[in-house]
């Protein structure tokens, strides 16, 4: 390594005005992430026009700030109002929201922030030192590998099903079936419906907002008189020592899982967070407490989705292959600045690469600072009177559904999914499997069909591909372990007679 070059390339990153841009980006990112419907991808895309007049280092710094900030921001809404602010925060709400309801919103936010920071740093460090090695793996992923990855992701449904496995599976199949509505991405055939809103498949973000936010609005309208006011104790802006010790393992594992999954093109923070959550639950000594509001659950999910930020940058920078939708838009920003990400970038613009690595770490620190300043403010949201909060969430949900494509169809779709989500939840069908199915359904289907087309319909060939075999084994193992765990949990609950898993 040429330390002189490293030093001269990262020096401009630490210029005061550059730090200011990164902080601005991180602040914007946290806000955008915390509003359901506004995703980090959208935040980056919306800010790109502002970077036209800037040089590469501040513009990339600002965009990375948004990217990292929004990943954490998503957890705020998940913890406070049971709606993932970004899809990647969907796993965070499994334990984050129960924590908020127990009056521990401040603690949950602090844990989410700390885990996001650690996960993000793990991702950034891996990106800095292992890029060339990891990027080689990214190219090995063809349709068959993606299909098995999706199957592995779907196996997580079992561990997030809650009390009744069969109800979790029903939710999962329901979600997978819904995901096939509209345009088939392989043949171009319109399935089940010819409505124009389904031409690009099921509108995902409006569906997410409907299922989680609007269903909650409906339920709150029904039960407004019964709901108690929740207050938030705030002990500190960072988790206490006891908490850090408890979550350390989940954070580190989550950071690595996130970076790894993030580095696979097409697999993003949402999948990583669920996989990491499931792994934390599997390896925990008290899996029955997952879902009731425990720090490890929040930590595992948040560390993984922020680990993804660094991971997703790896194939983008070193191969010119974006790791997820965020990095796809970021890559556009690089090209607009006249830099074509790809292997040549490491040869021709190594200084820029080093500056990007440094910016990524600064962006994580910026996110930590913004988050620490915000924890107290955000936690207050939960103690706003419900009668004011619920109407405001309603408007924000509809606006969020509209914002993605700026068309009314998405708003109506969100309203319908809200009704569906309300009914399912009322009869104790878990919603997270539906979300996972909406993400992974199209991925598994298109890739299976692509693979079958390339390999002339010979499915057995999947067993000749090592990566596929690994994922299939992992999927089967994860299913078996989860089912056994669930049995144990049910027995333990039955014995104690309490409602520990309620």
């Amino acid at each position: 390594m040429d330390f002189g070059l490293i030093f001269s390339s990262i020096a401009p990153v630490f210029a005061p005005e550059n730090i200011l841009f990164i902080l601005l980006g991180a602040t914007g990112g946290v806000l955008i992430g915390s509003i359901p419907g506004l995703t980090s991808t959208m935040g980056i895309a919306l800010l790109i026009p502002f970077t036209y007049g800037m040089t590469i280092i501040p513009s990339v710094g600002m965009l990375l700030g948004i990217f990292c900030g929004a990943m954490y921001g998503g957890s705020i809404a998940a913890i406070l109002i049971k709606t993932p602010g970004t899809p990647a925060a969907a796993a965070t709400l499994l334990d984050g929201y129960p924590m908020g309801q127990k009056g521990e919103a401040g603690r949950a936010l602090a844990i989410a922030l700390f885990s996001s920071f650690c996960g993000g740093m793990i991702g950034a460090l891996l990106m800095t030192f292992l890029s060339p090695f990891i990027s080689r793996m990214a190219l090995k992923f063809g349709p068959a590998e993606f299909f098995t990855l999706a199957v592995f992701g779907l196996s997580v449904i079992i561990s997030i099903s809650g009390k009744s496995l069969v109800k979790g599976l029903i939710s999962g199949f329901f979600g997978l079936l819904i995901a096939t509505l509209g345009m088939d991405k392989v043949s171009g055939y319109l399935r089940f419906t010819r409505l124009i809103g389904f031409y690009e498949g099921v509108p995902f973000i409006p569906g997410l907002i409907g299922l989680f936010a609007l269903s909650e609005v409906y339920a709150n309208i029904e039960n407004i008189l019964k709901s108690e006011k929740v207050t938030a104790k705030i002990s500190g802006v960072l988790p206490g020592w006891q908490d850090i010790k408890a979550i350390a393992r989940s954070v580190v594992t989550g950071g690595f899982i996130g970076s790894f999954i993030g580095a696979i093109p097409g697999a993003g923070g949402d999948i990583a967070a669920f996989v990491s959550y499931s792994e934390a639950k599997r390896s925990s000594k008290h899996p029955e407490k997952f879902g009731t509001g425990i720090p490890e659950g929040v930590a595992a999910a948040e560390a993984a989705n922020n680990g993804c930020t660094g991971g997703a940058m790896i194939p983008m920078l070193s191969l010119g292959v974006p790791g997820d939708s965020n990095t796809a838009v970021l890559m556009g920003a690089f090209i607009l600045q006249g830099f074509q990400p790809g292997p040549m970038m490491y040869v021709e613009h190594l200084d820029i690469i080093y500056a990007v690595f440094a910016s990524m770490m600064v962006a994580n620190f910026a996110m930590l600072i913004v988050g620490m300043c915000g924890v107290k403010l955000f936690a207050k949201v939960i103690s706003i009177e419900r009668k004011l909060l619920i109407p405001a969430i309603m408007v924000l949900s509809l606006v969020g559904s509209y914002a993605i494509n700026q068309n009314m169809f998405d708003v109506y779709f969100a309203l319908v999914m809200g009704g569906v989500g309300y009914l399912l939840q009322k009869y104790e069908f878990p919603l997270s499997p539906i979300l996972l199915a909406l993400i992974l359904g199209p991925m598994s289907e298109s890739n299976l069909r692509r693979f079958m087309q390339i390999d002339n319909g010979q499915f057995w060939r999947i067993f000749t591909k090592p990566i596929c075999v690994i994922f299939l084994v992992l999927a089967v193992a994860s299913m078996i372990v989860s089912v056994r765990n669930q049995r144990k949990i049910n027995k333990r609950v039955a014995r104690s007679g309490g409602d520990a898993a309620e």
Partner: protein
């Protein structure tokens, strides 16, 4: 509701004219007097969005009014294209139309065509390439075709989506050369190029800009470009015509207005955007994005649209995408 809103609007307009002291009396209408909305049928952050924002910024300088780009996405471009067509024809809303306008109607995905617009200018046209893995045994289009003929049904060509511009392009290639290949649709050009670099498929038929990074890296090679002339950036890539195959095929973007715009307003817009196309900043931006600027004035653009529509329809029928 609509009637009421029109009545209110009329009232407001009348009062506006009165208060403005009869500014618009006689002669050409003062245009533009307020900001203009530019509809982009594709998402913010994508290629169409980027080029449109750069062009709008250059044109805003000419018109002396701001131009706001509005992304009306969804429906594979159908929603945004419909929004342009249905916009109020007052010159304050126009938009970018793209190749999909000429491939969606045949598939029954939209119920209008290029003929429902008032075309303004063509902005760019990017030719398809035939790109294969760097270590593939064939080094020219001819060798590729021969390989495919010896191994029918073996080669997979990746494209950006079913019925998309590059799917039709690959179909055209297969049809014209009489080879039997498998068309594998991906979600966008980038994943298809990645799959090619990873050796999961044998070829892609996307634009030069989309394969550039892998080409520079030496992971893939371009066997030919479906253009009438060679690329200025890569003069060593021969065209299909050079190699004895009379195939040309492009994706394109242009600006269009809803029907029924005042000819004077149209003229103002044409002038402004024609000048914007020569703006050095815009040209620089297009170069960075590796886009081939291919300006056409309104009448020629209209003729091009018709010709392109007929050619695309013919190819789609030939490859069985539509009946």
């Amino acid at each position: 509701m609509k009637k009421l809103s029109i009545a209110v609007l009329g009232l407001l307009l009348v009062s506006g004219v009165v208060f403005a002291g009869g500014k618009a009396e006689g002669g050409a209408p003062a245009y533009p007097t307020k900001g203009i909305t530019m509809i982009c049928p594709w998402a913010a952050g994508g290629g169409t969005d980027a080029i449109l924002r750069a062009l709008s910024a250059a044109a805003a300088k000419q018109l002396g009014q701001t131009i706001t780009v509005e992304n009306r996405t969804g429906g594979g471009g159908a929603i945004g294209h419909a929004a342009i067509k249905n916009a109020r024809p007052d010159g304050y809303t126009l938009g970018m139309v793209t190749f999909e306008l000429n491939s969606l109607p045949q598939q029954g995905l939209i119920d209008f065509t290029y003929a429902d617009y008032d075309p303004l200018i063509r902005v760019n046209a990017d030719a398809a390439t035939l790109t294969v893995k760097a270590d593939a045994p064939y080094n020219s289009v001819k060798e590729f075709v021969e390989y495919c003929k010896q191994n029918p049904g073996v080669v997979s060509i990746g494209n950006s989506a079913p019925g998309s511009v590059w799917h039709i392009g690959a179909g055209l290639l297969a049809n014209e050369t009489g080879i039997d290949v498998k068309h594998v649709p991906f979600e966008g050009a980038a994943p298809a190029v990645t799959a090619l670099a990873g050796g999961h498929i044998q070829a892609v038929s996307v634009s030069l800009a989309e394969v550039k990074s892998q080409l520079d890296a030496g992971n893939v090679k371009c066997l030919g470009i479906m253009d009438t002339k060679r690329s200025a950036l890569y003069p060593n890539i021969p065209t299909f015509i050079d190699q004895g195959y009379n195939i040309t095929y492009f994706t394109w973007r242009g600006l269009a207005l809803p029907k029924g715009i005042d000819p004077a307003i149209r003229e103002t817009l044409t002038k402004a955007f024609t000048a914007a196309m020569q703006d050095p900043e815009f040209v620089e931006q297009a170069k960075k994005m590796n886009l081939d600027l291919a300006f056409l004035p309104p009448a020629e653009f209209n003729a091009f649209l018709k010709e392109n529509f007929d050619a695309v329809t013919k190819t789609m029928k030939a490859i069985g995408l539509v009946n």
